[in-house]
């Protein structure tokens, strides 16, 4: 019974989700009637032009913003606001500058009722997972951008969420660091079986990491599209299949 529950962990159902902002008093629709099932354990990438609402969709999933209409169900339960079943990785690492790397990674564990010893033990494990054991007692200001983002990733993984939500997590990194972080994320997700939603504007990143890609339309009347990326892992960026997927995506954006 518990095994069966574990297997279904982290399933997301989005039903008739709509959200609009107010711009100079007039409503500006951002998301219109989104319906989507996210499978347990899969990595779903959300891509779209700026203004397509991809970050808004992620923030609604995180519970940081309320939808105007519609609902989000996680494992069949209606969500309301933020919850510890989800962890968010933002574009900026958002580390607490007064805490060491280890304490930053352990930040989310305190509210989960873990003892101090347990929390430290688990935090240490995730610091190792992202390869920063030598920097355990460093302060964020002493870290490079890529290292800081790895701490943010470890902090999110340490709470062992059902769903991991990433909002352009590698967007601020340089090209080299970005590729090595993508490889690292692929490695981590192979070991940690967690449902992942990744918002990105990098099409190659989406193909490299995702099982499926949701493309949000730029124009309001357009329909969102889903593409399955059925490539073996670890993925080869220069494989013909990979390149074909990239061209398919570029075509969808009218860029080819």
């Amino acid at each position: 019974m518990s095994v069966a529950q574990n297997l279904r962990r982290g399933e997301v159902a989005i039903r008739h989700l709509s959200k609009s902002y107010r711009l100079n008093g007039a409503p500006l629709p951002v998301l219109r009637d989104i319906n989507l099932n996210i499978r347990s354990g899969e990595t779903l990438a959300i891509v779209g032009a700026s203004g397509s609402g991809k970050t808004t969709l992620l923030r609604v999933l995180a519970g940081l913003e309320d939808p105007d209409a519609g609902e989000v169900l996680i494992d069949g339960k209606l969500t309301k606001g933020v919850g510890t079943d989800r962890a968010v990785i933002f574009q900026e690492p958002r580390l607490l500058p007064w805490l060491t790397v280890l304490d930053n990674v352990g930040f989310g564990l305190e509210t989960q009722g873990l003892s101090r010893g347990e929390a430290r033990h688990r935090a240490r494990r995730y610091v190792q997972l992202v390869g920063l054991q030598q920097f355990e007692s460093a302060y964020p200001r002493q870290l490079s951008g890529g290292m800081a983002q790895r701490v943010g990733i470890a902090r999110a993984l340490a709470v062992q969420p059902e769903i991991l939500l990433l909002d352009e997590p590698l967007g601020a990194l340089d090209a080299m660091t970005k590729i090595s972080m993508q490889q690292e994320l692929a490695r981590i997700w192979r070991d940690e079986d967690v449902t992942t939603v990744l918002v990105t504007h990098d099409l190659e990143e989406a193909i490299y990491l995702a099982d499926r890609i949701l493309i949000l339309p730029r124009e309001k009347g357009g329909e969102p599209r889903l593409i399955e990326i059925d490539l073996p892992r670890p993925r080869d960026r220069s494989a013909p299949e990979f390149v074909r997927h990239r061209e398919e995506l570029l075509n969808l954006f009218g860029l080819h």
């Binding site: 510890t84 607490l96 930040f107 200001r141």
Partner: protein
């Protein structure tokens, strides 16, 4: 041209001539370390040392009237005499007590009130105009009012110092809380932190550097206000000694008391800097 000349002669006298590369490596490490230390002292304290030397010279050489500007050695020996005989110790004790109580009260009122006002917009909006009005009203101008209300005793003295000391720490604390990165607060919320945890783990630590700026300003103010507080109705205190020595034309004693106030201010500041360094190791560039 002459500058170049000085440069090369300096280099030659220090054995750093470029023509002879051997010499510079032959300089013992301890000597070059001393030289670096000396250089940093000159860069940091050169102007103040020059000022003190100028004072001493102009007084002993009679460029200024030594009765008005006594030489530094006279001032220092008067200060030392007052400390050694214990005559000034009572003044120091009572002054430190007045400033200390006022400062402590300002901290106890200012930090919690500032933390509260910084978090609750409505309260801040409601209280800000009156705070600005009070802040812009000189504590010295209000001193007669405090004397009317509280009498000529210790209470009015402590209160006038408290009044002037409160605002730096209060306003810095409000500013610190308001400037906490909202993104960090949002991050904490996604990890299930409630308002109390957000305050304890994010808002409070983030405000500490700003609070310390206020504390240092307040400590300085607490000592500055001593003069005013002890001007009226006092018969002890460093501020009183400054005024009293001037009335009695004990000019060296007057300068000794002024110097004492300055030294106390430096000590208070150094103490707070040390405390801040220990509390905010995370923000130090070379920690």
């Amino acid at each position: 041209m002459s500058y170049e000349h000085v440069n090369t002669s300096l280099a030659a006298s220090f054995g750093l001539g470029r023509a002879d590369g051997q010499v510079s490596t032959a300089v013992p490490a301890i000597v070059s370390r001393w030289r670096a230390l000396l250089g940093s002292i000159v860069a940091r304290y050169g102007v103040v040392l020059g000022f003190l030397a100028f004072w001493q010279l102009s007084s002993t050489l009679g460029w200024v009237n030594p009765a008005v500007f006594p030489p530094l050695d006279v001032i220092l020996s008067t200060l030392w005499g007052g400390l050694a005989s214990g005559a000034l110790l009572d003044d120091i004790a009572i002054s430190l007590q007045r400033s200390g109580i006022a400062f402590a009260a300002a901290v106890v009122v200012g930090i919690p009130l500032g933390l509260f006002m910084g978090q609750v917009r409505l309260v801040e909006q409601a209280l800000d105009p009156i705070l600005q009005l009070f802040r812009q009203t000189s504590a010295l101008a209000l001193y007669p009012v405090f004397i009317l209300l509280l009498g000529l005793g210790e209470t009015s003295k402590v209160f006038v110092i408290f009044w002037a000391t409160l605002f730096p720490v209060l306003l810095s604390t409000i500013g610190g809380v308001k400037e906490v990165d909202k993104k960090l607060i949002e991050m904490a919320r996604t990890y299930g932190a409630g308002p109390r945890t957000v305050f304890r783990r994010v808002v409070l630590p983030a405000s500490v550097p700003a609070i310390f700026v206020g504390l240092r300003l307040s400590a300085t103010t607490a000592l500055l206000l001593l003069i005013a507080a002890e001007m009226i109705g006092a018969n002890k205190g460093i501020g009183f000694q400054v005024m009293n020595a001037q009335y009695n034309f004990q000019i060296p004693l007057m300068f000794a008391a002024i110097l004492l106030l300055a030294l106390l201010g430096l000590a208070a500041n150094a103490l707070l800097v040390l405390l801040q360094r220990n509390l905010c190791r995370w923000s130090q560039p070379n920690a």
